[in-house]
């Protein structure tokens, strides 16, 4: 919680400052070290951190400063011209691209990996499979499912039978992607979900709450939560959330993970983006529990 809280405060302050027209391009410190600012998606933050650490050994003269905070944070920093690379687990909206262009910034999208959005349940929850239409009825406005018995299970430790919906704050890329992929573009979330600030909090809360259901990137799954398989249609095959199923596109709620640069990357930023796409970079994302963009063999 603490680093994110800190980032939140820092970002709140950053949001108060106006875009600085001179801020485009990485800055170079007095000692000749280039600093690349990299900010955004909480889903990608662990990978971005790992990339930055490994890259420090490859290219000691380039430092990558990685901050989380959510896709919205990264994208709004890109619009305001305060970062070199924005991490996002959703695509930039047309409105956001337009406001970036108003500030003289032309964001370019790069796919750096894929992520399966896992559904999290308390380990005592006997449910092993769930369909997209059931998820929509649980989370979507007008959806009828409010209790676990409507889903056909009795959850030990959940006497009230109520489905406690755990969601993300409304600027999160995970929130936006789940809405698009599960509820559909025009359906809103049911009000009253517990909106956590970060994927880790979703997992923590579900792990301690028998009645809860939550969603987040597969990489955040741990032994304290169960991840049921997901059916695209009610009578279709149930696909488990795994790196392999995310890569080959069979898992119904997997999404591309993106990095945005201001214009086509150049210089130090280009070298870094190319390195991320290399076998070394793609093995790191695989190691962190996400699917690489292509088949790689890692040692």
């Amino acid at each position: 919680m603490t680093p994110r809280t800190f980032a939140l405060v820092a970002l709140t302050l950053a949001a108060c400052s106006r875009p600085d027209p001179n801020a485009d391009g990485p800055t170079t410190t007095a000692s000749g070290r280039t600093v690349i600012q990299n900010k955004g998606s909480d889903t990608l933050v662990n990978v971005a951190q790992a990339w930055a650490e490994s890259y420090a050994e490859v290219e000691p003269n380039v430092a990558i400063a990685v901050t989380g905070g959510g896709s919205g944070t990264g994208i709004s920093s890109m619009i305001n011209g305060t970062v070199d690379i924005a991490n996002a687990s959703r695509k930039m909206k047309d409105k956001e691209i337009a406001s970036a262009k108003d500030n003289g910034i032309d964001p370019v999208e790069h796919i750096v990996g894929h992520d399966a959005l896992a559904i999290f349940l308390h380990p005592d929850n006997p449910m092993t499979e769930i369909s997209i239409s059931q998820l929509a009825a649980v989370y979507g406005e007008g959806g009828e499912i409010e209790t676990w018995s409507q889903l056909g299970v009795t959850v030990p430790g959940c006497d009230s039978d109520e489905v406690i919906r755990v969601s993300r704050q409304n600027n999160s890329g995970t929130y936006a992607y789940f809405k698009k992929a599960v509820l559909g573009k025009t359906v809103e979330y049911k009000l009253g979900s517990r909106d956590m600030h970060g994927s880790k909090d979703v997992v923590d809360l579900v792990a301690h709450t028998p009645c809860a259901i939550g969603y987040s990137g597969l990489a955040y799954a741990n032994d304290h939560v169960a991840t049921p398989c997901v059916k695209a249609t009610d009578d279709g095959a149930c696909v488990a959330p795994e790196v392999a199923t995310a890569s080959d596109g069979t898992y119904p709620i997997a999404r591309p993970l993106l990095m945005y640069t201001a214009g086509e990357p150049q210089g130090a930023v280009k070298t870094y983006m190319d390195w991320i796409q290399s076998d070394t970079g793609q093995c790191i994302i695989l190691d962190k529990g996400y699917a690489p963009v292509r088949n790689v063999t890692c040692g």
Binding site: M1, T2, T5, A7, L8, L11, T12, A14, A15, C16, R18, P19, G69, G70, S71, G72, T73, I75, S76, I79, N80, K93, E96, S99, C158, D159, S160, E162, I164, Q169, N170, N171, S172, A176, K185, T186, E188, Y189, L191, G192, S193, R194, D195, M196, H197, D204, L205, H208, T209, P210, C211, A212
Partner: protein
């Protein structure tokens, strides 16, 4: 510095010249005066600057998109909806009000009890220790309180009350009550101490017991100070962000029991402001929430201040 009037004219002129020396001490005096003036005026400058800033950022929303009945009577806070963003703050206002209200209910009996004990009963040594401990309670950072709410109170509430989730009005209210209690206790104790001892002596001379003296004489005499203590505690609770964000469940919901999750105004601003593009409608709407908070806290503090002034006069 001023020559005495009994002296003759020439002597007076001479001593006037002597008094008019602009030496180092005089300059230091002027310098300190200036610094103290800047210190005194700075609070006014800052509060005005803050008010101008949040109004400037929020006024675009107030002027164009703001819909009074939606803002105050709709629960639908969906600022990032692509099809139709709505800005209903009813649930957020209800969330802040319920958590603060519950916190005050929790904190008032404890704080007043503590203040009465410290001011009226505790022996001097114990009083000093208690005062230090109460003030230490105020030194715990709010994020630590939030952490206690999230990781300790949540499972405890689920266990004790057999409810589906422990991040509720109850959780946030208890945490906030503990945070507001030191302020209430300290100010209430000051108010009780300010009651002249002659009142107590008079009451005891008339044969009143200790309890009768406190209940019939001391408490009514300190009434204004006690009200101010409660109001400042309310203001503290109203503005608290981090602990409420973590302990309340952050769920858009008008609560009908203390076991419902809610979302506070402050927590909404904290969670969303960092991720909105500067100047967007959502950004301005968050500043409008800021204006609302500012105005309410301003009036709470103003009332507290006027009430305190009331005791000084009487």
């Amino acid at each position: 510095m001023v020559p005495t009037q009994t002296e003759s004219q020439p002597a007076a002129a001479a001593s006037l010249e002597e008094a008019d020396r602009r030496d180092l001490d005089w300059w230091i005096d002027k310098l300190v005066e200036g610094l103290v003036f800047i210190g005194g005026i700075s609070a006014i400058v800052f509060i005005t600057a803050i008010f101008v800033f949040i109004t400037k950022e929020g006024v675009g929303f107030l002027g164009s998109r703001f819909d009074f009945s939606e803002f105050f009577f709709s629960q639908a806070w969906r600022p990032t909806s692509e099809s139709k963003p709505t800005y209903g703050a009813l649930a957020l206002i209800a969330g802040t009000a319920s958590v603060t209200g519950f916190a005050v209910l929790m904190a008032v009996p404890f704080s007043l009890g503590a203040a009465i004990y410290i001011a009226e009963f505790a022996p001097p040594k114990q009083r000093e220790i208690l005062k230090v401990l109460v003030e230490l309670l105020a030194a715990i950072p709010s994020v630590v309180w939030g952490f206690i709410g999230l990781s300790m109170m949540n499972p405890l509430i689920i266990e004790l009350f057999d409810v589906p989730i422990g991040l509720t009005v109850l959780n946030a209210g208890v945490i906030l009550g503990l945070m507001a209690a030191p302020i209430m206790t300290t100010i209430a104790e000051d108010a009780l101490k300010a009651v002249p001892d002659s009142y107590r002596e008079g009451a005891e001379a008339l044969g009143a017991t200790r309890w009768q003296t406190i209940f019939r004489v001391t408490l009514p005499a300190a009434r204004n100070g006690l009200v101010a203590a409660v109001l400042l505690g309310v203001g503290r609770g109203f503005g608290e962000t981090m602990a409420v964000l973590m302990a309340s469940g952050h769920s858009i919901n008008v609560p009908d029991s203390v076991f419902d999750s809610v979302r506070a105004l402050t927590a909404t601003i904290a969670a969303e402001l960092g991720e909105t593009a500067v100047g967007s409608e959502h950004y301005q709407a968050l500043f409008t929430l800021g204006i609302l908070l500012f105005v309410v806290t301003f009036f709470i503090n103003l009332t507290a201040d006027l009430v305190v002034r009331g005791i000084r006069k009487s």
